[in-house]
Symmetry: C2
Subunit: 615 residues, 2 copies
């Protein structure tokens, strides 16, 4: 070992002192936060950012070839902000606004701050996001940037981590670097493996990653590790670092009970004495990336939709057709699927454009996280699986809304109309789940034409869109000249004498149409609205129906809560017209789609009965 | 190798032929299902059930000391039913009703059939359920039964599997046996590792499990493996079996494109020829378990609630107090927490009753799955983490409703009132999520007294209950003599002249009370309802308010969709009174709870403003 410290190490030590000062100052000022979890990672991150490995043009955070740094342990936000302060990108004044209302420096990182690649704070998500960014670099943008993810040891208990680990190896992401901060202590005590680094190493190496063990407070070791990272090929790397929680402040080092706790003013003063002299005027320098850009594909004209009227086509198949058809116009499209692409029909696109299709296997959490990473790098990920299985990734989907994500989720096999496979395969809560998303869009087409149009609208829209598709075939009822807009609806049956309005979407639209015919024979005029945009709603059309018919009946192949019934009442609940909801209220089971729709009272018969009851 | 087959092996071969016949007959008759995935596991399962290792009293499926068998690969249901048919517990006639409406033999197993330990079909959940059952055997009931879980190779991609694997090792579950059917083929092609058994072995062994590799179609090898299982101590065991998808029917063996596909009649006839003679009259014998019973703890009297009026106590703390207080009356209670027990206050119970408390680490999916396993063994699991993080386990929670689960989920840190930690930590979609559950109960107490009462009601109620608690302190407003029932509410402010009704719960109740006071000064009488039971709702009280005041305003610290607003409109949406909802509609951020409540318009000021707007 070299007894004379290199200039680099000396500089890093000074920067680390500055960063520790920032961590303590900002968290003590905020009165809450996670300084101890920040201190354990401080040397690792200082060495990464200012030791030469990390390449980032701070003047241009969105540069496509910047290296990417994700704090999967988002609670180490004081460190994250301190690093960017040390780099001269955040003033000390702003640093002291941390956690205050209106500050860009939130309790956990959000994309309000341009250096944040994605919002974190729900643990076990950062590595998946990193997978998405690394996939982008290696297979799409074909740029030499690296993605670094800081991981906590506690969060390694999340299964999503292992999903990301396995997929990163499968795609040979040698541009992805995990830095695992093993500080031994979780929120309420020791982690499963404490300071046993070999426990992590065995597991991660078994999944085919290169592992490097270091003392997370030794700059020579850390620098050496980052050096090695540059030469790894064909596999991702995990740097596994032994660290001390609270490192640098003796009276909180390695102590239980100090998670998410800040120093009070006295303790802060004592800590400063321990830290020694801090040069608050110094600035850490980050290496610049090569100024290379991805090849930009130009949008091309695409073919028109053509389905013969009445042709039975499942909307899930129309989704696959749509993606395949419109991709040339939207070359940012990428498709991800959870090992069911022959059911969601993402494989229609995947076969034609294999370089834009990623098989994500049966690991929905990582699929959603990777989609976020791709989205943050300018792609438009179209993510498909059974509607029911998106529940698996609800936490990741929820977090997407805090990252300004531009992702399209497509859930097939919605509702009891799935049939014989039974309840485990039926998406019956997907509308409720996706409706909660702030500013999210929820679309539910009924036929092939509307599906194609809706997929195109979804792609054009910047934000999170959910599209619900159906397993069985439904007849084409719309012509290609019809337009479908987000926030729209279609009045598919109308007379001036309508007594009741039936609001349906997807499979139930056909039930409503059948009910309409039957009632018509009995002289009862019923308006039928295709509510293909479940969020936002076409409030104007609903209000008009509320004003001109004596009741509204919603019909949906979804549980009674959180779906179309709730949505419609949310829009017109302040109006005096009564709204009734037909939905899935009995325990779903196996059976023929028709039997199940009847059983739940959401078929033609259920609608007819309800209409008559109200007359 | 012994060239003369033992009697046992000969018997097993005959039974395997019978089971294969049943698989093909039932799936061909049904016209859908997964025969090939059943055939790959057939020999493994026949050897397990009829080779002596599995001990089960078929006359008493609920016997506490029966071994447990869970098909995590639930799509192998034709095999599951075939096994019980071979055991004489299901007639061939019933077998042929598989997948029909009303049959106990659903497309994927559900608990309608008494031999099904838990509903499966959403992959990657069975092992967690098994963990719960094994925890029960080893630490609670202290019975020698074993839990066997049949796993598919595709589903090993689910992170939840690794959560279960890690926890099983942490708790040294040597009574848990996984049987991994490596048939190489997933739904749409080859799995990540194909027939590379060592890939699975390395990973699983790295997590500290004992692994045994076998040819999954060799009875001597399989029997030998089960023999070894009996002698393992201190660690769980995974039998990793090389199998052939479609085994036994040459023209579908190891072929891609045969997932979830059944033989047509002609193919079925050809397959029968290949199978050879099948003895449909034979019955497989399952070994009987020891007739031992768990020690039953008798319910005891417990102390009464006592909180001084006005005392500030967080409802999350009252949850911990309640569990600690009432446990002697409900000795089936078990608490599980996701490494945040010092925040959810599950640790109050955990410290007093460490033998009834399971640290589940940051792995919410496995926590929910294990809770289901415990519930199915007669315990009342109380599962706690931050409300936001239950989204992580939505798929597992969703599946619980198909297993007749009796589980209490307690989510703390609800809403923007979490404050400085920011949106990643805020539960803003939990009400929507839990409201979707069929027959589920959603409770949201406001003060310590109502929390204690509500926890007790939740424990008494058989089914899935969600309780939402709050981070910050709220003053005690109720006396111990008040009662809180599922489906009830409290009218906390009332006059005969009320012009508007404000419906609130949890933190917003206090905002509503403050608004009431302020408006009262201005001569405006506002009714205030504490809607502590969000599902089911107190429809009578809401109707009465709808009839006697000119508008209803709901106020909730939750996103606008799927929560209290939607719930109330769902109950009285057919009445002419207008319902307005105040909810979280702006991007949440860090800040003081008060600032955030104001920002979202769900504080006293927001309510006051809305009331005046409506007058």
């Amino acid at each position: 070992m070299n007894m004379v410290k290199s200039m680099v190490e000396q500089k890093l030590e000074k920067l680390a002192r500055l960063v520790r000062y920032f961590i303590l100052a900002s968290s003590t000022r905020a009165g809450s936060g996670h300084p101890t979890s920040s201190l354990s990672s401080a040397d690792l991150m200082v060495a990464l950012m200012f030791g030469g490995a990390f390449r980032f043009d701070a003047a241009s955070p969105e540069h496509p070839n910047n290296d990417r740094l994700i704090f999967s342990k988002g609670h180490a936000s004081p460190l994250f902000y301190a690093l960017w302060a040390a780099a001269g990108c955040i003033t000390e004044r702003e640093l002291l606004t941390m956690r205050r209302f209106g500050s860009r420096l939130e309790g956990h990182p959000t994309v309000v701050l341009p250096y944040v690649e994605a919002a974190t704070g729900s643990l076990g998500q950062g590595l998946s996001i990193g997978v998405g960014m690394a996939l982008n670099a290696k297979y799409l943008d074909k740029l030499p940037y690296r993605t670094f993810v800081l991981l906590g040891d506690s969060e390694m208990a999340e299964g999503s981590q292992w999903e990301a680990i396995q997929l990163a190896r499968e795609y040979k992401l040698d541009n992805l670097v995990g830095i695992l901060d093993v500080n031994r202590l979780g929120q309420r005590g020791e982690t499963m493996y404490g300071h046993d680094l070999s426990a992590y190493e065995r597991r991660i190496a078994a999944f085919g990653w290169k592992t490097i063990l270091v003392d997370g407070h030794s700059f020579p070791q850390i620098l050496d590790a980052f050096e090695k990272v540059l030469n790894v090929s064909g596999q991702p790397v995990m740097i596994i670092a032994r660290t001390i929680k609270g490192k640098g402040v003796s009276f909180i080092e390695d102590r239980n009970g100090w998670h998410g706790k800040v120093l009070n003013k006295d303790e802060f003063e004592r800590a400063l004495v321990e830290l020694g002299s801090v040069d608050r005027s110094m600035t850490g320098e980050i290496s610049k990336p090569e100024n290379v850009m991805p090849e930009a594909a130009l949008p091309k004209e695409v073919a028109n939709i053509s389905y013969p009227a009445g042709k039975p086509v499942a909307t899930r198949r129309a989704y696959g057709n749509a993606l395949d058809r419109i991709y040339p116009r939207f070359p940012e499209i990428v498709a991800l699927d959870g090992e069911v692409s022959n059911s969601t029909y993402a494989d229609i696109f995947g076969k034609r454009y294999p370089e834009r299709f990623f098989e994500m296997y049966i690991a929905e959490q990582n699929m959603a996280g990777a989609a976020l990473g791709l989205s943050r790098r300018g792609k438009i990920p179209c993510v498909s699986t059974f509607a029911a299985f998106f529940t698996r990734a609800f936490d990741q989907i929820r977090m997407c809304q805090y990252s300004g994500a531009n992702i399209k989720f497509i859930g097939s096999h919605a509702g009891v109309s799935v049939g014989e496979d039974g309840p485990s395969q039926m998406g019956l809560e997907d509308l409720a789940m996706f409706r909660t998303l702030l500013g999210g869009v929820v679309l539910y087409p009924s036929d092939a034409v509307s599906t194609e149009k809706i997929v195109e609208e979804a792609i054009k829209h910047r934000g999170i869109v959910y599209i619900r598709t159906t397993r069985q075939d439904t007849p084409v009822i719309y012509t290609s000249s019809e337009s479908f807009v987000i926030g729209g609806s279609k009045i598919v049956r109308y007379t001036d004498n309508d007594v009741i309005t039936v609001v349906a979407a997807g499979v139930t639209l056909f039930e409503a149409l059948d009910a309409h015919e039957e009632l018509k024979k009995e002289g009862i005029a019923v308006r039928v609205i295709d509510l293909y945009s479940v969020k936002p709603l076409d409030v104007a059309t609903l209000k008009q129906a509320a004003g001109s018919t004596k009741a509204i009946i919603t019909v949906e192949d979804h549980f009674a809560e959180g779906g179309i019934g709730d949505a419609v009442r949310g829009a017109i609940g302040h109006l005096p017209v009564p709204v009734y909801s037909l939905a899935v209220r009995l325990m779903p089971k196996s059976g023929k789609p028709r039997e199940l729709l009847d059983y739940e009272g959401i078929s033609k018969d259920g609608i007819t009965k309800k209409v008559k009851e109200l007359l």
